[in-house]
Amino acid sequence: MVAQILFLVFTLAAIVLFTVNFRKIIRNIRLGKAVDRNDQPQKRLMTMIKVAFGQSKMVVRPIPAFLHFFVYVGFVIINIEVLEIMIDGLFGTHRIFHGLGGLYDFLIGSFEILALTVWLSCVIFLIRRNILKLKRFRGTEMTAWPKSDANYILITEVLLMTAFLLMNAADAKLQTLGVGHYVTAGSFPISQYLQALLPSSENALIMLERGCWWFHILGILAFLNYLPYSKHFHILFAFPNTYFSNLEPKGEFTNMPSVTNEVKAMLDPSFVPAETEPGKFGAKDVTDLTWVNLMNAYTCTECGRCTSVCPANITGKLLSPRKIMMDTRDRITEVGKNIDKHGAEHQDGKSLLDDYITREEIWACTSCNACVQACPVNIDPLQIIMELRRFAVMEESQAPASINAMMGNIENNQAPWKYSPADRFNWAEGN
């Protein structure tokens, strides 16, 4: 009974805490500007099914795609086991689903095989990060915290899977010994090999089985509450992020309606502009970005595929699309904390541009869309870069001198170079 009450308390506490933090993230995302992404629901659903569920963009890199697929499938399917643990924990039962008979044996057997593949994949991931030190996991933005974050996630998953398999091994051994409520149920294709390592005393086995059971479920609850602080949040946000992703051609940039009004008024004095939201052009801080940009930031799992294909980054420039996303998340988190502490009106005098992302970074972008194409969950770092440029150019007139010269040429000569418009057709005279 005490165990059941404790279980209930832990579970409720975990759910409440998670809900509080989750709602804070949703509130932070809503600090972003409006953008309509509710059109074409069918196409959006298909995109989500293909990209998030089907992981279609992962296959570009087969080795990590393969390993990630194991972890993903393992994570999703082993959660069926969590359902049983929940019921057992709340009602004091043991292996409540064992009545399913052959199906139960099949399920437990599959979970074991998946647990092993998850375990192996995570160990390989740890080796890739910490021993092989792949270039993709390095870079200036991969400071102490992001590196630890990745390792915490992988180590936790290894431990959870170990506990799951040890629990089964102990359970199976207790079943063979015919101890108390340990009914004969399940098949143990993997953990049977662990049995030899276990103690033979009944009490020690029960301690081990219970210990692993509690470790497994408390670990999962703790992990759930780690998500809002971690890059691992992508396991939840990959789905809405792909659903609400941009469906237009990647080359198309938004036409700013506020500018359209002013330009129309300039070209035609009789034009009466429709009501639009006044405000600044482009983005200086995260709250000038759209909610989709902010959701992108929370979805980023810092895999670095974007940065590894960025022509600027490849050639040693400061720009790293992954850093753009990480900076955006860090800044919106900071803005959210300020609201919690000092209220919604508080200004801390900081901004995304300059305090997090430098001018040198935004001007190094070739707008080639390689980062957007590479992202397995359809994050768009380019849009953030462009919004920062728009602010720098339209609000501050702060562009590199040669860019100003180019724009001056367009204004005066209708071409980005200093040629006379009268000579525009001279090409037809050549051979």
């Binding site: 330009v263 050639t315 070739t366 040669s402």
Partner: protein, 262 residues
């Protein structure tokens, strides 16, 4: 040129409408290297007998470099002025010689009142080949030559056009070799996003050199391009590598014109 390139103004004066407007673009109008490509596109249009016209001195920058640099005001000023001209001439279909113009007019003009059917010149060439109007005969033979094609970002990733330019090369019976990074994974030449008009930020290599190194790995005789800015970047790279004699950088339109002896 051996024939006169018709302008919209002349067509209108004669009470005629072209089948297609050829949007030349700033690079195609002023850049000496790109002017050759422009003339070759006209030669192709003339050769197959499509009724076409250009805007001539009435053409103006689409606003693309201004928009990518963050100057939405200047972009929309250019766009609306251009749309006014295009709509006044009742333009329905446009072929561009530049993927940047193509992307801007196709994707960003409709929201500002300019809706046209827009194609890139490599798509036009693909269509003409498919219709049997264009072959690869009567000119220079590319048979067996090693050609590698560089995907322009605003044609490839930006608009998903990967096959048209390759189709135009396939008819040559040449040996097409792909670079390691090609199609949706293609590496930028370094000119996009208004980079063409500024010095690159501090780094350890120029992007076009990175790209040329990769192109040269395929040991090509021709590097094919579809964008005047890529053309500049790739040609500069080849010059830097001192390979101008061995490797030619040619636009798909130039290759097509040469293959047909135009």
């Amino acid at each position: 040129m051996e024939f006169k390139v018709p302008t919209m103004a002349e067509m209108m004066a004669a009470g005629e409408e072209p089948e297609i407007l050829f949007w030349v673009g700033c690079a195609g109008s002023y850049d000496e290297r790109a002017q050759k490509i422009t003339r070759d596109i006209c030669k192709i249009l003339h050769h197959v007998g499509i009724k076409y016209a250009v805007l001539g001195t009435e053409e103006s920058c689409t606003g693309d470099p201004a928009k990518r640099a963050g100057n939405e005001f200047l972009f929309q000023m250019q766009a609306m002025t251009n749309i006014e001209v295009l709509n006044a001439y009742n333009i329905k279909k446009i072929v561009t010689g530049c993927p940047h113009c193509f992307n801007t007019i196709k994707n960003e003009y409709p929201g500002l009142g300019g809706t046209y059917e827009v194609i890139h010149h490599t798509q036009l060439i693909q269509d003409l080949i498919n219709e049997g109007k264009l072959k690869a005969e009567g000119g220079e033979s590319f048979k067996g030559k090693k050609i590698t094609y560089h995907d322009p970002c605003y044609l490839g990733r930006g608009n998903g056009i990967y096959e048209a330019p390759r189709k135009a090369l396939e008819v040559l019976d040449a040996q097409l070799v792909e670079m390691k990074r090609c199609k949706s994974n293609g590496l930028c030449c370094g000119a996009g996003g208004a980079q063409m008009f500024k010095e690159p930020e501090k780094g350890n290599k120029d992007i076009n050199v990175e790209r040329i190194d990769e192109a040269l790995e395929t040991n090509p005789q021709v590097i094919a391009a579809g964008c005047p800015f890529c053309m500049t970047m790739l040609s500069d790279g080849i010059k830097l590598k001192d390979k101008e004699q061995e490797v030619k950088v040619l636009d798909i339109a130039e290759i097509t014109a040469r293959a047909n002896g135009l």
